[in-house]
Symmetry: D2
Subunit: 382 residues, 4 copies
């Protein structure tokens, strides 16, 4: 019997959207206990969150350094086994490094780091320490995404020729972001880094595309734009891409596409068939053919493979959504950590790793470079 | 600060779909700890579930009687505060009664009881003991259902004239149900009672309709059918209905509608506008008018009222689903119980009650009676 | 080589929606020339329409009697071969009778007559005279309706068990119909007959259901309602039905369902599979199974049978619509008339006949009777 | 009263998809009589088509030269007023030129010519002769396209910032095109010109985008690919674009996107709102906002402007489609020609002109050039 693992959290104080999502995702399957946290750099706020989570004040730390230092001295079975990092990305690197150096497994919000250089170092550190590191590119947790990936791997679509993947949002289009904590740091170069839109959601597009198709981007040509008055970073980006097997594609992300919620979608065209998936209707995978009728695959209905079924919790027609997909990352992470604690070395978890995180950071770096260049194609290497 | 409440569960052993859903729903918001259970009448199975839930053997009871007897002797703060009942409905009454009689709050899977008579007694008992009783008519937990209800209450649709509500499923259509635990008892009169399809999902249609519209059914005319060889109870039922304000409607439920997953939907037509909601696409509420364009309301997007927003966890476009809706019932129940424990008497929770459960049982009784009758209209009174 | 046939029209003057549709449908395939008409009882209006249609004044008649009398004296090749009747249904019978008696083939808007008695006589007259009579139950002209019918005939769905067919409209819900010519006569018993909603669109539901399934309704239980102040006839009707093979169903039609355009749809459930078709998205036929993925059949795409292909004009993905479906009735009618003129007796046209029209009138009669009765089931015989 | 105009057709012999569409479109509104044609370079085939169209052999010409020469000598009122050109595009220029030089108005299938140089000359010729020239960029004929254009013109969406327009098809993806006449010439450089996919459907994307938004493309960066073995021209093309107001966009077209029918769609994002339209569901225009609920505008329903209403034939909910949209071009063209014949000079028809055709040819030229270049941005000027 595997253990229930114990987790500490850095970030996720009052008003933080993503911290709350991580906690729901961590709770859903009952495999993880949140035992401590450093939820905010503001001690008072951190205590508010701790109280809401029914955590004792003693496990609510002033900062992540304290948390790691104190927890590592607690006896095994009491101390946290792993750290969840849900702070703005400028801080990811330092926190992750300290956690890894102290033997704590890490699950980290994306993008993995603030700079590409940090990403390289962190990926090396993960390699070096052998600790478990998961990056919450949560969209890969959706069952029907796994179904698409499995079908492509099995050759159902034939050779992949074209991919169209996009992530339009509208919420940063109005130049009124002052109100929300989520918007504030994303448009601030000091905190968001070299890119806003591509850094935040463009890397999801890249990650989802490579995850589903198993292909790697080799060349790209980007056009990033800052539309909204007051923004200094890109709020929109369109990218032509080429893949290692000769496939071509269009990837784009936008945060000024008025009226769009979270329109992440992907269409993959092969010589034999095509798949289409929309994050806002995640239970459905449309499969199209030239020589037979379109099929609409549904989570947990007939025709679904083992990979998607394993990522499902309830029967078809009872919709699962974003939190469940997110929870699939946590569940795999928890299984990996629990396995490690029990000495199980054979488990091959299906969650995004530091290698994926590095690739994401390199993609952000590349599209920014490409956008500033007059040269059409930029080689994309990590 | 409210307390985290402690829960025991009856039922939900290995292979039980709904027990697992209840547990995920109970976990999601971190307000409830599952501290004990009597998961199966088979002790070995019960222990398997307990272990999977990381519960100590000492809190895994041989049966619900033991659980209630032992737990009530534990000190407050350690003992369970409430009981979740997820057994087949033939046993709901006895379990609920014992829990209520021993001062435990109850959250119970629907239908509330096995017979209408039991439902009356149970509703009286709830009244009499003043304990908190929630029935998991989970579909009322969806944010966009609450949005529809709020709009109708506010008069946005004008006077309601017509309702079409349906719940087609296909899974019992194949006469191969032997395989699944969920199917087995539903088609067995000894365990399912006087109705299979209407008892199981027809009562959801009734509940959802009355919840959203605020109207009460006053007359009905039913045609129940047993289509599948081997079934002895209805696997399909169509009902003409009339409401207390003069509105008319069609309600139907079916478990032999081949290819249908969980097609619960409702359309409500008023003098000024109409709403349409589909459980399989729960994030959307379509609002139609004769004199202006159709609107598509989306959970947590602009135009959504306080009721729906309060039932939401994450931003628009990141789909919430069935488990989240179910968790809204648990969350409201937990708040009510915690409030009671803290002496808060003012909280008016929005979850289905024993009164709703009684009404559901009366509906099942009425459609069965009507279906057997040559008389067109049957008065529906509870 | 078949002849281009010549047609006269009765009705369809200025402002008449359905007359215009008939003319577009008659024109589309270039098989029919409109050569004369009696478009309105108001001579001035009739002349306006004639001029718009580039018809000479000499072929614009004062009334249908004149038209039939004069035209039959014209030489073959010049005179009209057939009559299109697009007047309010109170006049259908007299016009059709006179046309048939004078050897003109007839294509007639539905419902076929004003009374059931007239329908019986007209059906006999058609039989007796051997003339060609088509009724424009146009929805049967849609290619994907023909696809559904062919699949059911071929046994793809197994034995049919349940049918849900509906036709909600909202346009008569507002009590402001005075403005439109189309609305005016429909709510007037003197002109619309014993039923408004069921007579106008309920009979489409009946016709479509029997056409697609090949089944016959044998019993029904109806609840018709007049909701809108000022209406004297039904503006809504819900009907439970039973079919000759034991299948059950729900049919309903409504003209006060606020916000609905022309929501005719049908779902047919068999032991092996189910089909679903929506008139507002007519190019798609959804096919559902319990044991394999849902298929979405598309007009003229792979997987479509000969019947649907024959009723198609352009490739998949270039939407055909209502006018094209309507034109399929006209095209079949023209082929039948041209064949008759050429002595071709073997052609078996696929269009609604006087028998279908009689059945439709009987259905209207039956639902009105049933709605007034306290008896649950009414035997439906024609 | 306007005249019914008389038309001759070049091309459209047996098996020609687009010729048949043009004829249905020309017939639908009863404003045009097809009086003669040169349907095929193969005389026998041409006669087959003439017979099917009930045309006398005397008006079936050996070639377009004969047709124009003979017809111009016929008396006015008998001779054709205009020519419809539905041949492969390599021949458009010569036919159009001769027609214009002989005073016949022209309606021509797109792309307008074979080369950009021809397009320039033809546009000049149209200007010079003052004859009416319409190009069947038929997608602009859809009512909801006109609705989108009107809304943008009226400022409903604010300043336009981003456009995503695409036209994926799958039919040329299989390397089995030998079978179809439509496919054969499109992949043959000698007949299709410098581009297959972008020339055939890419120019629709360009035309639709500029029509709806009123913006002009000023820079582009293209990646055209030939995927299918046996193809020598592009069967896929992705283009980044910049517009004259600073807006950015992605345009793409594809004929190897397996399983896609005619997936032309456009999304236009402005500072205040956005519109989304899909050719395969042409009756609907989705309008999205950040600060209010999504609206779904429907042809001829409430909220539709005069432009869309004028392009509509039947009520909302009775679907109009591709042929009706195409017929709108013909209807406007017929009105323009009839007006000219009657001396009406004020009519400002809404159909694509030779200027649009020239722009389309320039776009095709530009994307081919850009695709071959290492330079990122190519200035687009006509």
């Amino acid at each position: 019997m595997k253990r229930k693992i114990k987790m500490g959290m850095v970030g996720g104080g009052p008003g933080a959207f993503i911290g709350s999502v991580h906690r729901m995702a961590a709770r859903l399957d009952g495999k993880i206990d949140l035992v401590c946290g450093a939820f905010s750099s503001d001690r008072a706020k951190s205590l508010v969150t701790a109280a809401e989570l029914f955590l004792p004040e003693s496990r609510c730390y002033w900062n992540y350094q304290d948390m790691i230092e104190f927890e590592r001295k607690l006896p095994v079975g009491e101390r946290m086994d792993c750290v969840s990092i849900v702070t703005p990305n400028i801080t990811h690197y330092d926190i992750a490094l300290k956690a890894l150096d102290n033997g704590f497994h890490v699950i980290c919000e994306k993008p993995m780091t603030f700079t590409l250089e940090q990403a390289r170092k962190l990926a090396e550190k993960v390699q070096e320490t052998g600790t478990i590191f998961a990056l919450t590119h949560n969209y890969t947790g959706y069952p029907m995404v796994k179904q698409a990936r499995a079908m492509i791997k099995a050759g159902t679509l034939g050779e992949i020729r074209k991919i169209v993947a996009e992530y339009p949002q509208g919420w940063l289009g109005d130049a009124i972001e002052g109100a929300s904590k989520q918007a504030e740091w994303r448009v601030d170069p000091a905190r968001a880094g070299i890119s806003c839109c591509m850094g935040d959601i463009g890397s999801h597009v890249e990650n989802l595309t490579e995850y589903i198709t198993g292909l790697k981007i080799t060349e790209l040509c980007a056009d990033l734009t800052t539309f909204v008055p007051g923004h200094t970073l890109d709020d929109d980006g369109n990218v032509l891409v080429r893949f290692d097997n000769g496939a071509r594609g269009v990837l784009y992300a936008s945060q000024m596409s008025t009226g769009e919620e979270n329109g992440l979608s992907i269409r993959v065209y092969g010589t034999k068939g095509a798949v289409e998936w929309h994050q806002e209707s995640p239970e459905t995978l449309v499969v199209k053919y030239n020589n037979k009728p379109m099929q609409v695959l549904r989570r947990n209905w007939a025709g679904i493979g083992a990979e998607a079924a394993a990522a499902s919790r309830i029967p078809a027609g009872h919709p699962e959504g974003f939190i469940e997909a997110f929870a699939n990352i946590y569940s795999q992470f928890a299984d990996a950590v629990a396995g490690r604690l029990e000495g199980d070395k054979d488990f091959a978890p299906d969650f995004p790793t530091a290698e994926d995180g590095l690739r994401g950071m390199a993609f952000i770096d590349a599209v920014v470079k490409s956008s500033r260049s007059d040269q059409k194609w930029l080689n994309f290497e990590v």
